[in-house]
Symmetry: C2
Subunit: 141 residues, 2 copies
DNA sequence: TTGACATCGTTGCATTTGCAACGATATTTT
DNA sequence: AAAATATCGTTGCAAATGCAACGATGTCAA
């Protein structure tokens, strides 16, 4: 009996992730043309307050080069500011501007709506699904 | 209350998918240095037999340009052959060589092992997880 | 039959990605 | 205190990706 790709979890997981990302991106595309890294940086900053690039890199599961470039674009768009760190000169501290906070408020609503839709679709499987995802994310978190 | 990225399903899903893909890639890297598209094409061909590029594109959730390039590399490596289609000259038919079949047999074993590991890790949540993934993959399948 | 339109696979191109320097600053070791 | 190491963020570069031509073939309609 040959190998069945359709039943293979890494494959299914990847397809599902791509699909869901696309659906979500379509929602916030109307609000702002953010890339996924930009969206993650913004979302994390809105909760953490001012933090360094390295902090975000660790939290948001993206390479530091990606966070660096996403931050540069977000700065250019006026959504965040960069500043030096008092104690450690190597660090670059990121902080949302009012404009960034306002954008994130709108995006947060859209995200919450989308999340609610997903949970409805999943029904009773939602809790187990959430547990499984947390588990598979591995010891990195 | 601000938006919580860590609890956001599309994010968790994406992180989990990346993580699992990496783990799996590490397993088969020793056997053959395949990219993910190459692995998918190979895996699909091993089950479907000779089919066209378009067929694989639809089944394996990849852009046709990606399937085209993956096929070219696999052909170069001697894992598959391309041939014309009798009825429709536009089609390119792909078929595994003996070498390709042999490789896929080894990879299939590795994949099955990995899948078993994942299922063990997930425990009782596995069935719900699988259902959820199938559902989220959307009506495309 | 001829012409308009659709489909197939490949290729070109701009963008994104991941990784490995790199300069600048901190920390640790001797 | 000096020297060796480590860490931070940016940048360069090669490879991968997504999308839109494109040539070639097929199909459909007038």
């Amino acid at each position: 009996m040959s190998f069945d790709l359709d039943a293979f979890l890494p494959y299914r997981l990847s397809v599902a992730a791509t699909q869901v990302s696309r659906r979500f991106a379509a929602r916030y595309a109307a609000e702002a043309g953010l890339s996924i890294p930009e969206w993650r940086v913004l979302a994390h900053l809105s909760r953490s307050g001012a933090v360094s690039v390295r902090d975000i890199t660790a939290r948001v599961n993206l390479d530091k080069s990606i966070v660096s470039r996403a931050s540069a674009r977000l700065e250019g768009a006026g959504y965040l500011r960069k500043s030096g760190h008092a104690g450690d000169q190597r660090l670059v501290v990121l902080d949302l501007t009012d404009s960034g906070r306002a954008l994130m408020e709108r995006l947060g609503r859209i995200a919450d709506e989308f999340q609610a839709e997903l949970l409805t679709e999943l029904g009773d499987d939602a809790p187990a699904f959430r547990r499984a995802l947390l588990h598979l994310a591995g010891p990195t978190d």
